[in-house]
Each structure stands twice: as C-alpha cells, then as structure tokens.
Symmetry: C2
Subunit: 516 residues, 2 copies
C-alpha cells in the first residue's frame, strides 16, 4: 500500500517538469539541432511559472549537454544530445532506444564500439523504474491516475463511472440472447471500419430528431469509447509541436492523449458561465491552435455548462481562425432538471466540429460504444486512421447496443439513472455543508469540483483520506498546468451508494480535520 501510494503522491519539482517538457520536444525533433529554444520569459508564461523556474531547467539542460547558451541570443539545441545519454544512466530518459542512437553515433567513428554498447536488458531494467521511453515520458500521469483508481478503498469518489448497480445488467443479458436469435451468424460477420450501417441509421435518426440535425449514416463513425475518439482526433489533426487549446481544468486522459501526440497545450479557464470570450480570442490569435478540445456540457471536472450564446460564438471563432473543435459530450444526457443547450456541433455549418458522444457507459460499459459525428472531409481522415487503429470496432457490441437503444427500456433507464444521480449529488452536498469548502452545485454530470481553503493541499488531503479508505481526484490531476489547482479536489458521486457517500464523506472530513 505504502509503496503504491508513493507512486502517485510524489510530485516532481516544477523545474523538473519544464526540463522534461523541453527534453521531450528535443527528443521528438520538434527542436532540431542548433534550433533556438523559446525564451525563458515566453516559456514561463506558457507554463504559468516563475521565470527563475525555467531558468533553472535550462541551466540543468545545459549541464546535461542537451542545450547550449549563446551570450545574449538565448539557448540552442546541442547537435547530438543523445551522445551524452550513456554517461548519465540515472536520468529518466536513458533507455534502450536512446542507447541505440548512441551506438549509431559511435559506430560511425569506430565500428568496434557497437559491441561495447549497453545491453538491452540493462536498459530494460532501467525502464522498470519511474522511467519511460522518452517520447512517452509525459504520459506518466496516466500511471498516476490508474494507480489511484487501483487503490483498494471502501469509498471510491475518484471514479467518474456509473455504479454498476444502477445499470440494467440482468435485462441486458436476456436482451443479448434475443439479439443472437435475430442474428445467429453475428459473430461470423466482419465488422466494417465505420461501424454497423443499421446502427448508424438508428443514431442518425435519433440525432436528427433530437437536435434538428440532418445527418446521414455516412456522417457517423462508431468508436470503442470516447477515449478512442479523442485519440483519433489528436492523431488526425496534431503534429508534434502543434498547439491544442483545452479548458482548464479538463479531463486528465485528454491531457495525456494530446501530450502523447506531441501537442503544445494552451489553456482557457473554464468558469461557471463558460469562457471569457475576449480572453479566448486573444489566446487563439496568440497561439494559433489547430484543435480545441471542449467538454461544454456538465464539464469534467467542474460540472459547468457553456451557455448557448457562447457555443455559437465558439463556432465563429473556429471558422475565422480555422481550427477544429473536438466536442466531447459524454455527459450530455446526465441532466437533473432542464435539458442542456444544443451541442456546439448542431450550429456547425462549415464542418469545424468533431462531435464525440458516448453512450455505453450509461447502459453497458462492457460494450464500449461511442459515436463521432463530423463532416465528410474530416470523416474521410477519421476512417483512414480508424482502419489503421483497429480495423473497426467489434460488431457484437454494436448490434446489442442498437437493439437496446431503440427499445422503450432505454428511455426509462436513463430517466431512472438521472434521478439516482441527482439524489446522490444532493446527499454528497448535504454532507459537504459541514466543512468550510466551496463549490458550485452542478445541474448535471457526475462530479463536484470543490475548492478547499487556500492553505490546504489536495495531495496531502488525499494521503490522509486514503488512511480513511476514501479516494478522490486531486485538482492537479485535472490541470494541464503545473500550478494553481493544489487546493481543488474532484468528488465523483456516481460510483457509490447514498449510504456509502454518507459514510465516506464523514471519513473524508475526519481526514481533513486531522490536517488542521
């Protein structure tokens, strides 16, 4: 337990994070040999850290022979950074692949050295540390979050997943049997890349009726969950070094995906009333994003909703400055009272929006079904990439979902689910009133975004609360920037029963009291 905990509680110093970022960009070749690096000032602004922090990182990179300084004119990339690697086996980026480079460079000078190179297994053993292939090193956060989810705790407020006991499991099992009576050869059928045509027909009708869209089955792609859809968007639209604009805070897996794609992440604050549109346009003009990832409805983690007016304005910005909006609308149906405003995609006439709508997590997570809606020119690329990614999602789950989705059961289930979630939310808020914490009560979604008193650190609170067998997501996990969310926590009320919420929150407040 102790070791496991330390795995995600150790926080890197800011200068190390900046170091890793710059090093990754050099590794990727975003910064070529002898390229000039961003100024200390601009990088400090980008990371929202003090200039001395960036200065410190640059000093270390110079010390490690990855970059060199020219008087007055700034910092530049060393011709062969990899050469230095073997001399510092303790560095996180020393690994088999790099040592391959090293050999390559030596080998030109002296063939004999090929055989003296560090053997792969020793590199491998290094990789079993916190280390990682250099071009994956910024995805460590993933280990971190999954390590948190793997915590065997009694009160699981860290998972934004639906409590399985709220799902129509037994009915679904019966249902599957009916599906197989309908399609005895179902498992022998090859799935298509875009997804089952009948399912796409059904979904086109659904979206057209509900959101006044004019979709045809060709405008819909079936993906294995929303995660795959976000990954497709990143791979289609992002080259290393490109700017992705994301809300702050945001979905931590999305941050990992964009970093994995080599994106430069720029943020816009998500407020109770959405973004400051002037500030947003300024940021867009400054950073020229290729992609903006948004979660406008019951936003994760805040639960905020982007107002209808700003949805229309966002489309105009995307058209004017020519970037693509990836609209992740996973929680659209999780409203407690009034329905949310129409999706941003429903205002899209020029084809600037990639709309991502997940359903299966509210019905049958075992199916992993989501849909991407977009215009033909984006769909063409999405299909190419999907065919290279997995050749198409499994057909079985698609047919099961199709028949459940079209049944009257679906509507009834969703209504019950909304009620159950709102009751759990109320219970959690009722328990929270005992503390001097602040939050804005969401009108839908799965989480509360809670601000602790300024002096309180979320990571410290998590450590204490784990001793009480309570888990939650600390603010920094949802923040693309290294600083500013230390006093926030995400409490998910969707995975635990009201009784568990009552007991778990009591324990959380005890953990909090122990820190005061």
């Amino acid at each position: 337990m102790k070791s496991k905990r330390s795995e995600f509680l150790t926080k890197e110093p800011l200068s190390q994070q900046v170091y890793d970022y710059v090093h990754l960009r050099i590794e990727r070749g975003d910064y070529a040999p002898n390229d000039r690096l961003p100024s200390v000032r601009s990088l400090a602004e980008q990371f929202g850290v003090h200039r001395l922090t960036v200065f410190k990182s640059y000093q270390q990179l110079v010390k490690d022979h990855f970059i060199y300084a020219k008087d007055r004119s700034g910092y530049y990339v060393c011709p062969h950074p990899a050469v230095k690697l073997t001399s510092q086996p303790d560095k996180t980026f020393t690994n088999a692949i790099d040592s391959g480079d090293v050999i390559h460079l030596h080998q030109k000078k002296n063939q004999k050295q090929i055989h003296t190179a560090q053997p792969l297994h020793s590199a491998a053993s290094q990789l079993t540390k916190e280390d990682s292939l250099p071009f994956l090193s910024l995805t460590r956060r993933t280990h971190v979050l999954s390590a948190l989810h793997q915590q065997d705790v009694q009160y699981q407020f860290s998972k934004a997943l639906i409590d399985p006991s709220l799902l129509p499991n037994t009915y679904m099992s019966e249902y599957v049997k009916q599906v197989f009576d309908m399609y005895p050869k179902l498992l022998g059928t090859y799935s298509t890349v875009q997804g089952d045509f009948q399912l796409r027909e059904v979904m086109a009708e659904y979206f057209n009726a509900r959101h006044h869209m004019s979709l045809s089955p060709e405008d819909i792609l079936v993906t294995s969950g929303a995660t795959q859809a976000i990954d497709l968007a990143a791979r289609m639209l992002i080259k290393p070094g490109d700017v992705v604009l994301v809300e702050r805070p945001t979905y931590s897996t999305a941050i990992d995906i964009f970093r994995q794609a080599g994106a430069r992440i720029v943020t816009v604050e998500m407020r109770p009333d959405g973004y400051d549109m002037e500030q947003l346009e300024h940021t867009i003009v400054e950073s020229r994003p290729r992609l903006m990832y948004v979660n406008p409805t019951y936003h994760n983690p805040t639960g905020y909703v982007l107002p209808e007016e700003k949805r229309k304005l966002l489309i105009e910005l995307a058209e004017q400055y020519q970037f693509i909006i990836a609209e992740d609308d996973t929680t659209y149906d999780m409203y407690f009272a009034d329905e949310p405003p129409p999706p941003i995609y429903s205002y899209d006439t020029e084809g600037v929006v990639m709309y991502i709508r997940s359903f299966s997590k509210y019905v049958a997570p075992g199916l992993r079904i989501a849909f991407v809606l977009c215009k033909p020119w984006l769909m063409k690329e999405a299909l190419t990439l999907k065919s290279l990614t997995d050749g198409g999602s499994p057909l079985l789950g698609q047919k099961i979902f199709e028949h459940y989705f079209t049944s009257s059961r679906m509507q009834t289930h969703m209504e019950k689910l909304r009620i159950a979630l709102s009751l759990r939310k109320e219970k959690m808020e009722q328990m929270l009133t005992a503390a001097d914490w602040q939050w804005i009560s969401p009108e839908g979604g799965l989480d509360l975004w809670v601000q602790l008193p300024a002096h309180m650190n979320a990571i410290a609170l998590l450590e204490k609360s784990l001793e009480q067998s309570v888990a939650f997501v600390p603010g920094p996990f949802c923040d693309p920037l290294p600083q500013g969310s230390e006093a926030y926590i995400r409490l998910s009320y969707c995975y635990t029963s009201e009784k568990q919420i009552e007991e778990g929150m009591e324990r959380l407040l005890i953990a909090y009291a122990n820190l005061l």
Copy 2:
C-alpha cells in the same frame, strides 16, 4: 463501378511518389527549414529508383518553393514552405491545416489578411478529392486497398479472410447465451486496460504448454485485433524519421501503419528460405532500425516460413544491434501438414520481441481478439498507450472467446478449418497449372503469391479480371518500394468455396488470355 475502379487503378508516377515522400517529411518537420536533404543518389537507392527520377522530384519541389538548391552542396528545405501553398490550390497537399499555417505566417506581417484567408469549407471541398491532410497523405494506399475490397465481385480472391461459412456461427450464438447465464452482470462490468484476468490466465497456460514459455497473465495484453497491436508497436517505438525494417513483400496495412507513424521504411527480401542473414545484418548496420516487423510463419503474402535456425539468429541480431522485433504470427495455426517452428518470441530471453497472435479471425471475427506477449519493460509502455487508445478492449468478446477457446470444440474447429483451407489451396493450384505462372506451394496460410510472366502487369490484369467479376491483390499493394512487384499477384483461397475457386480461376485465366 467505372469511377470506383479508377480510384485504385490510377498509379502515381514514381517521381510523384518521391515528391510526396519528401514533402511529407518536410510537413512533419523531419526536415527542418534550411536542413540539407538526402543526396539524389542516396534517395534513389532508398527507393530503388533511377537517380533521374529523384532529380525530377527535387526539381518540382524547387519549382513549388518547398526546397532550394545550393550549387554543388545539394538541396535544402525552404524556411516557410507553407507560404506558397495557397498559390497552388490544385496541389494534393493544399488543405485546411496548411491554410491555417498560411494565415499564421501572413498574420504576423499583416493582421488584416486573417479575414482574407481561404475559408475552411473550400479547403474542405478540396479534401474530398484524392487529397488528404499532409501528415496522412501517404496512407492513400489504405483507401486503395479498401476500395478494392469493396468491389462487388462474384469471385473474391483479394480478401485474406476466412469464409464465414467455415466458422462455427450457430454454435457460437448458443454459446454466448451460456456465457451470459454464467455472467449475468457481464455488460455492466468495466473492462481493464490489460484485458480480462481469467482470459489472460487461460492464454498464459496455453502458450506455456504449447511453446514451452513461462508466461504469467501480466505478460499478456488483449488487443482489438492484430491491427491494433501493430499500431501500438509503431506508436510505442517509432518517432518520425526512425527506421522500420520490414520484409518485402509484406502486409499492406502494416506499411500504412508505419508510414502513418512517420517511419522511414527499409526492406529485406523475404525468400522461400527466409532472409539472407548476411544481407540482413548489413542492412541493419547501415540503417540502424528501431523496429523490425516480421511475419515469419506462412508469411503474408508469400506463404513462406522463416526456418528455425534463422529465428534464433534474428534474436541475436536484435540483441546486438538493439532493435525490437514485432512478430506478427496471425497465421501460425494455419498449417496443412507439420506444425511450423516455434515463434521467434519463444527464443527471446532479453525482451526484444513483441509477439502478436490473433485468434478471433479463425473463430469469430465479430469478436476481434488478439494478444500481445512481451516482457515487462515493453508491457509497461504498451499499457500506457492502450489506456490512451481505447481504455481497454470490450469485455464481452473476451469472455465469449475465453469460454470457447477452452472448450473441446475449439480444437475440432481448427482441425476442420485447416483441412478445408488445404483443399481450397489445392483446388486453386490445380486451376493455376493451366497458365504459365509460377508460385511456390505454401505449407500453410491463406494466400498464393504468384509470379506472372515478366511482360505482364498485375494492375492491367486486375482491370481485366474485374470485368470478369474476379478480384485479387496486385503485387505493388504489398510492396513498400514503388517498383519491382508489378508482375506479382496475391490470390487468397480462404474466402471462396472450391466451386467458386474453380469458376473464378477460369475467368481469371480468360482475363489473362485477353491481355496476351
């Protein structure tokens, strides 16, 4: 029909292919502004084309202001290649993303120009041509192959897929119902990133018993088909510009995946007795690959088998020169007489092999189940990436597969399947004897790799044979190099009945006769 056909029969001139390749590398930033490009000679060698062809491509790139020539010293990348794009809307690489760049560059000089920029929808309409986002432009081959597969022909020799009538469909349907009686809450259960533990236990036992391995469930990752596994390998191990070594010819989707990852593809000839190991080592020393993709057992498309001795030598080369072997063993169980030699992975002690074994295509393609076997240091990265790719394969198919795989039915089915395939192969070979074509009879697998007389062009033959409602895969589709496979065709005998094979081959030979 006509238009559809032309979609994949139009062959780009070699110089255009070289042009696209160099342009892609510039787009990706592999070649930075003012970088020196490879010499005409070296690029000609790499592509296996005449130097004049490369010279022609470079001349066009100069004309299009992407590169410039310096007397005697060679060709270099222009500082801002994108700037010129809008002046040539007819070029394949003009598109929304580029025009975004254009604006960016103008905008620094003159804010006003932002609004005069080419609107996104016109860029979009360009993309509905053969065009593609620049960093995807080399995946056009995918459209091509899928376009071929979509041909509505009577005699389908182009699909290396198992004839659904050879699959245990009805039995599987019954089976699924039993699975749901065993796991009524199956669909309400969240899948893990690595895959169902019980299934991984079952597979570990299977591999340990059959191949004398010592796997634990932690050494196995469940993926959605072999395609996803190859894509994971590429994304884990390849950065743009890295070298991937592949057999020639090879699986065309793998070529697309590695190009998508920005790899420089280097080839080794696949011969009836495997590779020339001296030639292979020479190529490795020259090109320093990070990854070698191999399909050593009933190789696609040739059906050849890499002998046991060379499997052991390949491991030694990977350890010595420190590259990873991605071993795609999809057809391992499709032997007609004796079992093939053990997987390369079974000789791997240092952890240099990522073993990819697909099963579901021989049982229930609707399930899409494959397995990746590798050592912990690779598994750690594979899990991180898998979690960002789709969060784990759907649980439903895994449980169904697990229970079928462990049933006695599985073994019986596989034996029946092997017999059916060998009979179909014999029928196809019997029909082929009528022509002056050459092939080596494979001892397993799904395809015949047939050499036409030197004067015959596979693409021309395909055009004629489609008129006879017969489809096959022309050699160039399986060749990473632009030249040398024009006189080869791949004939798959797995998707059509013996009767269809008889009729279809007669028609193919008629098409052939019409070309003489």
